[in-house]
C-alpha cells in the first residue's frame, strides 16, 4: 500500500512539474500567429445562436461570424478548434489554442489565468421555468427555494454557488450542474428541475425551440460584457483584437450580427 501511495504521488508530482514548466513563450505571440498565417481559435459549438453546427457540420453563429471577420482583418486564416466549454480556458492557458470565443463573460476567477479582450456584446442572465410552474420568482434570490439547473463552469454557476449556496440560501443538493445548457433545458421540460439559470439569448432560443417553457426573469446578475479570451499578458494580440472590435462596432458590423442572430 505504501508503495502504491509513493508511486501515485510520484506520478502526480511529475505531471505537475511537467505541466507547470514554462508556459511563458519567448517572442511575440501575435508575430508568431502572423508568421504561421493561422490563428487557432477554440469554441464549444453547442450553444446556439452564439456557436453551433449547421446541417452540414459547418460552424455557424454570432461568435463564429464575428471571429471570421476578425481573422480576416488580422490577415490570417482561421482554424476552429472545437472542445467542451469547460476545457476552453485551460486550453488557452496551456497555449493549445491562440484564443477562444465562446460567449465568455468576464469573471475574476477566469481573469487569474487568462486575459480578456474588450467587450463585443453585453449579455443578461435569465431564469427559465416550465409553463406550468406555479412558484413565484420576483427577486433573483427567490430561486433558492427551488431545484435549480445550470451549466458547469459558467458565470451563472459561479453566481449561484457564490451568492446562494455559499450564503446558505440554496442547498448544494438542489443545485444541478450540467455539461451543456440544452441538457439542463430538457431536464427542466421533463420536470427534474424547477428553474434553469442561463444566458438570456440562448435561453430564449431554447425556450422557443423546445416549447412548454417560459422565461420569468432576466437581468444582469453574473453576466454583462462578453469578451474573447486571450492568453495572459499577451499585450500585442489583445491590442490587435481590441482595435478590430472597435472598428467593427463603429461600422455597425456587430449590431448587424446581433440583428441577424438575436433579432434585437
Amino acid at each position: 500500500m505504501k508503495r502504491v501511495v509513493f508511486f501515485v504521488s510520484l506520478l502526480v508530482a511529475v505531471s505537475l512539474v511537467l505541466a507547470g514548466c514554462g508556459t511563458a513563450k519567448a517572442g511575440n505571440h501575435l508575430d508568431a500567429i502572423k508568421e504561421a498565417g493561422v490563428i487557432k481559435v477554440g469554441t464549444s459549438a453547442d450553444y446556439p445562436p452564439f456557436e453551433s453546427v449547421d446541417a452540414s457540420g459547418n460552424k455557424v453563429g454570432f461568435d463564429i461570424e464575428l471571429m471570421t471577420e476578425i481573422a480576416k482583418r488580422l490577415d490570417v486564416k482561421l482554424e476552429w478548434v472545437d472542445m467542451p466549454f469547460d476545457s476552453l480556458v485551460a486550453a488557452v492557458q496551456e497555449g493549445k489554442i491562440d484564443a477562444s470565443i465562446s460567449s465568455f463573460n468576464y469573471s475574476e476567477e477566469r481573469d487569474q489565468t487568462v486575459d480578456f479582450s474588450d467587450a463585443y456584446y453585453t449579455s443578461e442572465d435569465a431564469f427559465a421555468v416550465a409553463e406550468t410552474f406555479t412558484g413565484s420568482i420576483v427577486n433573483p434570490e427567490d430561486v433558492a427555494a427551488f431545484k435549480v439547473g445550470v451549466q458547469t463552469g459558467t458565470t451563472q454557476d459561479g453566481w449561484l454557488t457564490d451568492t446562494l449556496v455559499a450564503g446558505g440560501k440554496l442547498a448544494e443538493e438542489n443545485l444541478f450542474r450540467y455539461d451543456r445548457v440544452d441538457q439542463a433545458m430538457l431536464d427542466l421540460k421533463n420536470g427534474r428541475i424547477d428553474v434553469m439559470m442561463a444566458d438570456y439569448i440562448p435561453a430564449q432560443a431554447l425556450v422557443t425551440q423546445l416549447g412548454g417553457l417560459k422565461i420569468v426573469y432576466h437581468g444582469v446578475l453574473s453576466t454583462g460584457p462578453i469578451n474573447i479570451v486571450i492568453p495572459e499578458a499577451d499585450a500585442e494580440l489583445k491590442q490587435a483584437i481590441n482595435e478590430i472590435i472597435k472598428q467593427l462596432q463603429d461600422e455597425g458590423f456587430i449590431d448587424g450580427l446581433a440583428l441577424k442572430y438575436f433579432a434585437q
Binding site: R3, F7, V8, S56, L186
Partner: protein, 214 residues
C-alpha cells in the same frame, strides 16, 4: 437535413477508428514488452512492470488522459490533440494488454521453457519460437474484449477537442434538440464497430487455433 446530420456523425467514425488504430497497436507493443519483462525478466524488472500496471489500472482512463495530455502536449513535446489523445489511450490500454498477455504466457507453463533450454535454445529463442506463438493465440479472445473497450473509450478524447462520434452527437443534440436521434445514431455506430471487431477477432482466433488447443 436529417441525412446531413447523420453523415456528419458518420464522419466522426473515421476519427474514432483512427484513434483506436493508434491506441490499440501502441498499447500492444508496450503491453507485450512489459508482459515479457514481467514473466521472464529479473526481479527489478518484474517489480517495475507490476507497479506500472497497478498504477495505470488504478486510475480512471479519463483522469490519466488529462494528465498524459498535458505531458504529451506541453512545451517539450507538442503533439496535436489527436495524437496526444490516441497515444494516451494507448498507454492506458497497455497496462490491460500487459495483463492479458501475461496471463496467456503463464498459462503455457514453465516446463516448455525448460524443455526449450534443454534442446539448446537461448531464452530469447525459446520465447520467440516456442512460447509467444502459443501465447498470442491464447490471448486473442481476451484481447478482443480489450479491443472493444478501447474502441468505446475512444469517446473520451472528445474532452481534448477531438471531434469524434460522441462530440458530434453532442453538437447535433444541441442544434436540433433531438438527443434521442443524435445519441441513438452514435450508439448504433459504436455497436456496429464493436460487433465487427469482435466477429473479426473470433474468426482470427478460430483460424489460428492450434490442434493441441481444441
Amino acid at each position: 437535413m436529417l441525412s446531413n446530420f447523420v453523415s456528419y456523425i458518420l464522419q466522426g467514425t473515421a476519427i474514432t477508428v483512427a484513434v483506436t488504430l493508434v491506441a490499440l497497436p501502441a498499447g500492444l507493443v508496450v503491453g507485450l514488452l512489459l508482459a515479457l519483462v514481467h514473466t521472464y525478466g529479473g526481479r527489478v524488472a518484474n517489480r517495475l512492470a507490476s507497479a506500472y500496471s497497478l498504477l495505470l489500472r488504478g486510475v480512471p482512463p479519463i483522469v490519466l488522459l488529462f494528465i498524459l495530455y498535458f505531458i504529451l502536449s506541453g512545451d517539450f513535446i507538442n503533439l496535436s490533440p489527436f495524437w496526444a489523445g490516441s497515444l494516451s489511450l494507448g498507454v492506458v490500454s497497455s497496462a490491460y494488454q500487459m495483463e492479458i498477455l501475461r496471463g496467456a504466457l503463464l498459462s503455457i507453463g514453465g516446463g516448455q521453457m525448460t524443455a526449450a533450454r534443454a534442446v539448446g535454445m537461448s531464452r530469447l529463442q525459446a520465447i520467440r519460437y516456442i512460447l509467444l506463438p502459443q501465447a498470442l493465440r491464447l490471448a486473442i479472445p481476451p484481447w478482443s474484449n480489450e479491443a472493444s473497450i478501447v474502441l468505446k473509450d475512444s469517446s473520451l478524447v472528445y474532452a481534448l477537442g477531438v471531434p469524434e462520434i460522441l462530440r458530434r452527437a453532442q453538437q447535433l443534440s444541441a442544434t436540433t434538440q433531438q438527443p434521442f436521434l443524435a445519441y441513438g445514431t452514435a450508439a448504433l455506430i459504436y455497436f456496429v464497430l464493436v460487433f465487427a471487431v469482435n466477429r473479426g477477432l473470433d474468426y482470427l482466433s478460430e483460424r489460428t487455433k492450434l490442434p493441441t488447443h481444441s
